[in-house]
Symmetry: C2
Subunit: 234 residues, 2 copies
């Protein structure tokens, strides 16, 4: 029930730091032997090896892993890693980094559930910062994981046993009790309600996108187990 | 009153696309002569030349520019571009891309108002997507500028002449009239109120971080001119 982070380059390091700040269990996979000393120093679990190889992924515990990130620096290696991971564990949640736009669809065919292009995300953010710097500062504060962070964003899945189902947002204790606010709701039919009204009703199988104090969000997420919808699974 | 985008690489292209989607005026600066044909085809204004050179920035109209993005692929070139731009136009708003973390402070000393590291932002996003994919989908929908977008995020500065000053959030017509919601408020003393209560009072010099239909947000922003605070200026 851990995560596997393939590639400990610039992005891999940030991913590992974020997972550690959230107390998530993970293993780093990187072929570079010279990283070993540093990883031991940081007390991060690792496997030195090529993430595109089945035996390396097996050594990293893919059979019992919950999710995998393919964050290698070149697209072909990420495609092959995704194919290997999907074959070894059909129901694992896979995220892949992409550099060339045209590789995105290929990564999805290979089995990635989500594909992230750092240049696209970075470009969006630079344009936003140019036009609306205060919005950038706001996002920076929310997404800067780590010490002293007093705000986080989370997803709460409304299961059968959840006391939230059937209530309106205003009648729920999310805001009054937990200082947690709903930014959006993804409905069971995949439509998205953005900044819903207080009189909007919370329904079974809704996913609430929330913002608020980290402890309150983690507690609510634990009460409403974070699972992924089935429609992206291979 | 235009923007200058230095570097038409992977990030520069995304920045140009986003600015175009928002009908903002801009000029691209890149030293690569082979880009010329493509830029003409896309009908994008450009200057072929080295952005670290004063004469090239002057040709791009820096004296009357509102903001500049240094999105070149190497850090030293971005530092020099920022220094040149800051010297040529002391009050311009400057954003710089950085690759190595340690260059960030140097870019700030050189005169950048904000510094963006695509690997850091991409890494944050990958970790978030791994743990909370629905939040990623939500952000993707908000920040994917372009055709068919029905939601945007904006910043509204509450000036003396604004009718918002003195009202509570609940009593203002932001939500009831414009379907615009307040995600946060940056107060005049730089503190941040996140997802404020409906009874929170809007004050003079607040900056409201809002989410809602693009047309409503642009209209409200135009009514409340988007300017930057003075404390980051050199
Ligand atoms: Ca899925
Ligand atoms: Ca400023």
């Amino acid at each position: 029930n851990h995560y596997i982070v393939c590639g400990y380059g610039r992005m891999g390091r940030q991913i590992a730091a974020d997972l550690k700040a959230r107390d998530e269990k993970f293993v780093i996979v990187d072929a570079e032997e010279e990283l070993e000393e540093r990883l031991i120093e940081l007390q991060l679990p690792y496997v030195i090896g090529d993430a595109t190889h089945d035996d390396v992924l097996i050594e990293a515990g893919i059979k019992r892993a919950r999710g995998l990130v393919a964050a290698l620096t070149n697209d072909p290696a990420n495609v092959l890693t995704v194919l290997s991971a999907r074959e070894l564990k059909p129901d694992i949640f896979i995220i892949a980094r992409v550099t060339r736009m045209e590789t995105e669809s290929k990564l999805r065919v290979a089995g990635a559930n989500r594909v992230i292009n750092p240049y696209q995300i970075g470009g969006h953010r630079m344009a936003l910062t140019l036009l609306r710097p205060v919005v950038h500062d706001f996002l920076d504060q929310i997404f800067h994981f780590g010490e002293g962070r007093n705000i986080d964003i989370g997803q709460i899945i409304v299961h059968e046993k959840s006391t939230l189902a059937g209530q309106t947002i205003g009648s729920s204790d999310l805001r009054s009790e937990h200082q947690v606010n709903i930014l959006g709701i993804r409905k069971a039919n995949d439509s998205l309600v953005i900044t819903p009204n207080p009189n909007e009703r919370i329904e079974l199988d809704d996913t609430l996108i929330v913002i608020g104090p980290p402890e309150a969000i983690y507690m609510l997420e634990r009460q409403n187990l974070v699972i992924d919808d089935e429609d992206d699974e291979i």
